[in-house]
């Protein structure tokens, strides 16, 4: 099976640097998600792989073959577009059959393969309908069918679920992942939804402003983010960033958040102070890693005032005021707190992060 390799990809539109030096190496059979905010260059990267845009510089390899000068039709990739891009005058059958017809596959084989794919996607009963007679979810399946029918080297998917309602989206993302694992086709999948990325990816490539920030497995991205941006982009609610300034006290490195001081153990303190480019650093803790208690406990670090209480399924999301900053904490529903109440907050340094205030890079 095939690999996709992108090396130093640069793509400009007039003066906009849409993709700025992205390199990704995709193992065969992997499900890789390009994740980032809108306008960060995900679609452009995908279109360069498909051959729909030609890079200004950089190389794209599919199965170790340089494909820069190959038109899309010769790259043997299949793409699912955000708005499905079904041919409106063709039935679902003809839409799915289209790539095979273009390749002059014999009629009876087309028939057989379309039926096979339709069965896989559960759309056998829709084959004679035109796209406008199908619901969003059904259109999405037909678009998927058109990509699957060919058994391409690579699947490229550009936010294929973003037009579906929330329930169907969550259902389809599981379906898609199952399909991909079954077919073992290398897949590059674009989304701006971090939960979708976490749920589906073997590897996530986080992008911002045309740059690739981190490329790793979901858990690594989540637990060891490379920068403030990556840390804050994943997780819901996102990681708390508490602004502090470093100072030395009796040889120990202390983070001063204004409302509280936090002393770092020696090794970590040295690590941070050696790398930091300024005295300003951010202490990053995920909401679920904050331990909130009504009474002060041995691991309490600071006290905070309850500002907003927001029940969310089995959890409470608390907005807490610490000095002039608001942080979010995720606690069990059983915690009994009122607005305005003082609570104690602690965290395990092993689950916390420290970021450089200037370069935004991870220090710890």
């Amino acid at each position: 099976m095939s690999d996709v390799k992108v090396v130093d990809l640069i793509k400009k539109f007039d003066k906009v640097l849409a993709v700025n030096g992205v390199s990704i190496d995709i193992k065969s059979g992997d499900f890789v998600v390009l994740l980032g905010p809108s306008g960060c260059g995900k679609t452009t990267t995908l279109r360069c792989i498909a051959g729909l845009e030609s890079p200004d510089s950089g190389e794209i390899y599919i199965e170790d073959r340089l494909v820069n000068d190959l038109p899309p039709k010769d790259r043997d990739v299949a793409m699912v577009f955000q708005n499905y891009a079904l041919y409106p005058h063709m039935t679902a059958f003809d839409n799915i059959a289209f790539p095979l017809k273009m390749r002059k596959v014999p009629k009876d084989e087309i028939e057989r393969r379309v039926k096979e794919v339709a069965k896989l996607l559960n759309i056998e009963h829709l084959l004679s309908r035109k796209p406008r007679q199908l619901s969003g979810g059904e259109q999405q399946r037909v678009a998927l069918g058109r990509a699957l029918v060919r058994k391409p080297k690579v699947f490229l998917m550009d936010e294929p679920l973003s037009n579906l309602d929330a329930k169907l989206r969550i259902f389809m993302r599981a379906e898609l992942k199952r399909l991909q694992k079954e077919l073992k086709v290398t897949t590059v999948y674009v989304t701006h939804d971090q939960a979708e990325a976490m749920a589906m990816a073997d590897k996530i490539a986080v992008m911002n402003n045309g740059k690739l920030l981190q490329y790793d497995e979901p858990s690594a991205i989540y637990h060891r983010p490379a920068s403030i941006f990556v840390a804050a982009f994943l997780g819901s609610p996102p990681m708390n960033m508490i602004k502090t300034s470093m100072s030395r006290k009796n040889g120990d490195l202390v983070l001063d958040a204004g409302a509280f001081m936090y002393k770092l153990p020696k090794e970590i303190g040295d690590l941070v102070s050696n790398q930091a480019s300024s005295s300003e650093v951010y202490l990053g803790v995920r909401p679920e890693d904050l331990l909130v208690s009504v009474e002060k406990s041995p691991n309490s670090v600071f006290s905070a005032e309850v500002y907003v209480v927001e029940p969310q399924g089995p959890n409470l999301v608390l907005d807490l005021r610490v000095g002039d900053q608001i942080i979010k904490a995720l606690t069990p529903l059983t915690l009994d707190v009122k607005l305005g109440q003082q609570v104690w907050v602690g965290f395990d340094l092993k689950k916390a992060h420290i970021f450089d205030g200037r370069t935004e890079a991870t220090l710890y």
Binding site: G51, L52, A85, H89, F98
Partner: protein, 291 residues
Amino acid sequence: MKRPYLFFIFPSFIFLFILIAYPLIFSLYYSFQFWNLATSHEPQGFIGLTNYLTLLNDPRVLNAIIVTIMLAVPTTMIELLLGLGIAVLLDRDFKGIGIFRAIFIIPTAVAPVIAGLIFRFMFYQGLGTGIIPYILHIIGIGTPERGILGDQQTALIGIAVTMIWRWTPFFAITLLAGLQSVPNELLDAAKVDGASRYQIFRHVKLPHLRKLIAIVFIICFMMHFNAYDEVFAETRGGPGEATTTLSYLLYWEGLVYYNIGLSAAMTWLIAILLIIIVNIYFKFAFKGEKI
């Protein structure tokens, strides 16, 4: 009021009625009257279907129907094919397309009588031969002794050429706009799906144009069906009756012979003929789809 919106559309309804229905109804009324304007300034009596029967038994009418169809159908088809060809050639990104379009539309913007006169000179044969026979002779194609417009066999072709010159750019520009309105995403999908340039045209762009083509075709067909100016300017319906279209015959009956009753009936005959043709066409072109 049960349907308050009726109140609001009432004024425009009256206006439309006066504009469209009034002339129709009165011409229908006159078509059942004997009325020659040369002898009377008002209708001279109800004569039932006599005007219609006279027309249906008149060999000139049958001839005019044949001439009209022989002119309108091939002309519109050639315009469509040429226009589509030009549109496909122009369907790529290049600078100056706006200027090109502006220049290109000039023939269509020229008044048909003027176009007819220009072509009459270009077809002229004799002292100071026109450009068209001149070129035809150079490339070894002979022209009739009395000129293209002077010969029974070729006069209609001459008129058709004039109309094709005028209307092909219109087709080209309209179809080019249609080609460029194909959603980019569909083109991208087709490229990834492995379609060649020709396959993209054949399977994505052309189906996208289908309704536009069907509409533009029938509009131009109706326009050509009523062709009059070019005939007037180039041949006056001749030689013989070789280029006497229905509209030209109508003009002759109404404004030369002043047979108002007869020409009213002829107007209705033409309208009925067109309605039948257009309806068959729509059934055929749209196969019962909603437009």
